[in-house]
């Protein structure tokens, strides 16, 4: 065994230290999901192309949260960063899918910034609803983490042939509704995608899921369908969200959806509790329900592998 297959096996084995992991992979634009064991056993089709890069998703750090089940969300965020630094393959950058802070306070943003700096990697942000709580409705977040972004904080960038789109669905929320992108952002998205070849791999990230996970708890985005329509022609689309503090995944056409764990506290599975409030798990369980998501993009395979690891040692 040699080349990419070996590299990939080694990589996945290295990742297995985290204990649990679900691998979510694309194959020629058609995604399928495997258990980690199955992924380790299944050889890749081609051995020629090297792994191009990885990037890492952090979400829902809620710096400032200090209630059961986690008296110190700063400490668990620091542990998450330590996990990142210990990864055998260092990611090219980090994306943070929102709820950086608990209450949008300056000291919470300061601490998040300081802790993230320990990773020594570029970080790309989108705000969560907890980051919009300053008197100016999100300015404090944008001034710090959204420089150069448009509107409520949306933007896009390219990295090694992959087009990354950061969307904001926590601004100007409507009574009785869920997440909301809004007409202005959708117009921008249409223009941003126009003219890009359909073969361009796309990664979209936003805080609230861009599909309806559970409407009763507002876990969805009202006008997501309009964004997904714009993305439908692309062969490989990965949508990364947070907000619900647990892993869920879904495949629709050529779009793969995935939500990440929080680094602060878990939330209940849809409908399994009276409310989506923090799941008050015993201290010894907490770390197995917090985590990070590592994404591996393999050039020439059109596959992206998402590996969720918990903070349990």
């Amino acid at each position: 065994m040699s080349g990419i297959e070996e590299d990939r096996r080694d990589f996945l084995k290295c990742m297995a230290w985290a204990g649990t992991g679900a691998l979510f992979a694309f194959s020629a634009g058609i995604p399928s999901s495997f258990g980690l064991d199955a992924a380790l056993a299944a050889p890749m089709r081609s051995k020629s192309a090297p792994a191009s890069f990885t990037f890492l998703q952090l979400s829902d750090s809620h710096i400032g949260f200090n209630k059961p089940p986690n008296a110190d969300a700063r400490a668990t965020f620091r542990e998450a960063i330590a996990k990142v630094k210990a990864l055998p393959v260092q990611p090219d950058f980090i994306i943070h899918t929102g709820d950086v802070s608990q209450l949008s306070r300056d000291e919470e943003f300061d601490d998040a910034d300081q802790i993230l700096k320990e990773a020594g990697l570029p970080v790309f942000f989108v705000p969560g609803e907890h980051d919009m709580l300053d008197p100016d409705g999100g300015k404090a977040f944008l001034n710090r983490f959204g420089k150069g972004s448009k509107g409520a904080g949306w933007y896009s960038f390219d990295h090694k042939g992959v087009h990354f789109v950061a969307l904001v669905n926590v601004a100007d929320l409507k009574p009785g509704g869920m997440g909301n992108l809004g007409a202005e952002q959708l117009k921008w998205l249409a223009a941003d995608l126009a003219g890009r070849p359909s073969s361009t791999p796309i990664v979209v990230f936003a805080h609230i899921p861009l599909w309806t996970v559970y409407a009763d708890w507002g876990w969805g985005t009202d006008d997501a369908a309009e964004a997904l329509k714009l993305l439908a022609r692309f062969g490989s689309v990965t949508v990364l969200n947070g907000h619900i503090h647990q892993i869920t995944q879904k495949v629709e056409g050529r779009i793969a959806f995935h939500t990440a764990r929080s680094t602060a506290f878990p939330q209940p599975a849809p409908g399994t509790a009276p409310s989506p409030g923090p799941l008050k798990v015993p201290a010894e369980q907490l770390h197995s329900m917090l985590g990070i998501t590592d994404a591996m993009f393999v050039r020439g395979h059109d596959r992206i592998a998402l590996i969720d690891s918990t903070l349990s040692a």
Binding site: K67, L103, L133, P175, G176, G218
Partner: protein, 118 residues
């Protein structure tokens, strides 16, 4: 000082106090009566009393009992709380009659209505 005089002054004091009290009560009766206040507790990501009816001039107070912050924002811009962390309260006095829908701007599926009528 005789015992009888002492009793007399005591009785006079009681009478005076009684008159004062009556005049205070009379003043209170002259001012507009304050309608009963209402409380809305927030818990399990819901406004526990989703529809509350009060009289004009009544004050409604919301208290967040959740571990997660919420806000109380009227749909028409009449009132807007700051973010309410656990245990925080927000009050608003409804001067005029009408129907006032509101929601949590963080979790907009949380909605409620205050009906103000005489």
């Amino acid at each position: 000082m005789t015992r009888a005089f002492k009793i007399l002054t005591f009785q006079a004091s009681v009478l005076l106090a009684g008159i004062l009290m009556m005049s205070v009560v009379a003043d209170m009766a002259k001012a507009a009566p304050v309608p009963p206040a209402a409380e809305v507790s927030i818990g399990n990501f819901t406004f526990k009393a989703p529809v509350v009816t009060v009289k004009p001039g009544a004050t409604v107070t919301w208290t967040n009992g959740d571990d997660i912050p919420h806000t109380v924002v009227s749909k028409d811009g009449l009132f807007k709380s700051k973010v309410l962390d656990t245990g925080d309260r927000f009050s608003f006095t409804f001067a005029k009659a009408g129907q006032f829908g509101y929601f949590c701007s963080l979790h907009p599926h949380m909605t409620g209505t205050i009906i103000v009528k005489a």
